[in-house]
Symmetry: C2
Subunit: 331 residues, 2 copies
Amino acid sequence: MAQQTNEALARLRSLVEQDLQRTNEVILEQLNSPVELITQVGDHLLNSGGKRLRPILTLVTAKLFGYQKADVHALLAAVVEFIHTATLLHDDVVDKSNTRRGQATANSVWGNKAPILVGDFLFSRSFQIMVEHGDLRVLRIVSDCCAIISEGEVMQLVASNDLATDEERYLDVIRHKTASLFASASQLGAVVADQSDEIAQRMYDYGMMLGTAYQVVDDLLDYSAETEKLGKNVGDDFQEGKITLPVIHAFRSGDAEEQAFWRRCLEDEEQDESSFDHARALIAKHGSLDYTMSQARALIVKAKAALAPLPESAERQALMDLADLSVDREY
Amino acid sequence: MAQQTNEALARLRSLVEQDLQRTNEVILEQLNSPVELITQVGDHLLNSGGKRLRPILTLVTAKLFGYQKADVHALLAAVVEFIHTATLLHDDVVDKSNTRRGQATANSVWGNKAPILVGDFLFSRSFQIMVEHGDLRVLRIVSDCCAIISEGEVMQLVASNDLATDEERYLDVIRHKTASLFASASQLGAVVADQSDEIAQRMYDYGMMLGTAYQVVDDLLDYSAETEKLGKNVGDDFQEGKITLPVIHAFRSGDAEEQAFWRRCLEDEEQDESSFDHARALIAKHGSLDYTMSQARALIVKAKAALAPLPESAERQALMDLADLSVDREY
């Protein structure tokens, strides 16, 4: 990520530093299992330098609304990170990914079996934590969110290798698979702070727009970043035939010959050494990265609009800044 | 399964026929998703002629304690079957199984991706159903059970290909991965019928013993049944290096040469065409199937003992019979 985003994140983090520390303690405690391999596999990903973006959203939102009981929102923030980690473990098996956050994925270290099962454990442990907390509103938000995420993952599976996937369908997939957890994470902060349904919905909307923009930019980076900075291989999405916004734009802007190229590469997965470079050239020719960024920026305008009616505070400002800067990651 | 078990199951089923029908309706309703592939993959396994043994335990137990609200226990029975189905979807990916219940597994039809993600969906949907129901006791039982199951699955993964796995460790694995759902399914029936903790625990114990015996016999069948009757390939466990009770007994009863054979086949997975037949011969030589059956029968004595103090009723009798006959499956 760009310097600026790191600064915005650092500012967010400093607002909830103690809560985040408590969250990390909860994560460690709750990851503990008599079955050592569970702790190992979970720890491998949970302590691999993830940004804790989603739990931070919960913590900052709770603080924004004056919530004080650090232990409770740390619990929920840990739940959010567990759910996120479970989906990553399963995602990396599904995508056969070798690298994440610049290190080997769990499936490349332990094979597919352990990450599938440890993902299941993290889901289950999340629900155990929430049951212990005992708030049915929280359980409803998270169980709904988990169902939406898995629907999104299957939607993505169906859409992959299919260039009939248009922008609306693409956005629907990423709202489900990525943005819904940003949305729920933000909403949870408002809910534990006993805010009205309207306020909780506002935070949900903020998270939804932010998360969608975040994924749009993430998908863009697969065509623009340098592998080193990305923490995974540039071109992975292309190789797997994922239909993301830069591709959708370049495909619909292209002539018959170009469309045939995209079909061959992404639908039939017939690629050679030069394919990815040619794909990047077509994306550049049609300004597809600029288009993609403009769509992400439009989402961020909406994210900030959701926060606009809230009273000014350091937390609100930090969430605004995060929205701005989440689209200014390096590409 | 043997004729007798089918009769016991038919008797159980007839006691809760309407409730079971309602459960099947709930399963159909709740499997519904705008994402067609989810419904397809879920339906493939949920309507593949499974015995609905676990949901029947919930329904019969609820009826045993005079519970009347058919819709509620049908919901919980559906949850139990969803959780079971989710674990089977993930299991079959983990074990690379091709056949279950005499038909192709979801992973052999759709590949690994969809079954992993649809399993996640079924877990999530189960929690959505329970949240809608709104009983935290139920949520606690099921979330604890799911964590225990996934711990058991990982324990099994660690124990596989490792002949240091002794009988106690083997039993611990199957209590976690299989019997805990039998236990929770039975317990749920008592809990929705507002029975005391002591009674609920009694039903939990019954389910735990029954489920453990059930898995012991299941593992035995892999060395004794005919493929056609088993609905999956005989010898699969052997091929995968799973350490089950017949093996543990034959291994500990064997001389150095025999132990070397077991190590070669199960730890190093060096097997040829004659290996499985030789394994069966060693198992026969040491009476390991008889030993395994005697252990299963001892568990069934305990299962029945848990029910003994309950007042006599058709339901109690049917649960007693089920226990007896679940060890008399064909082998």
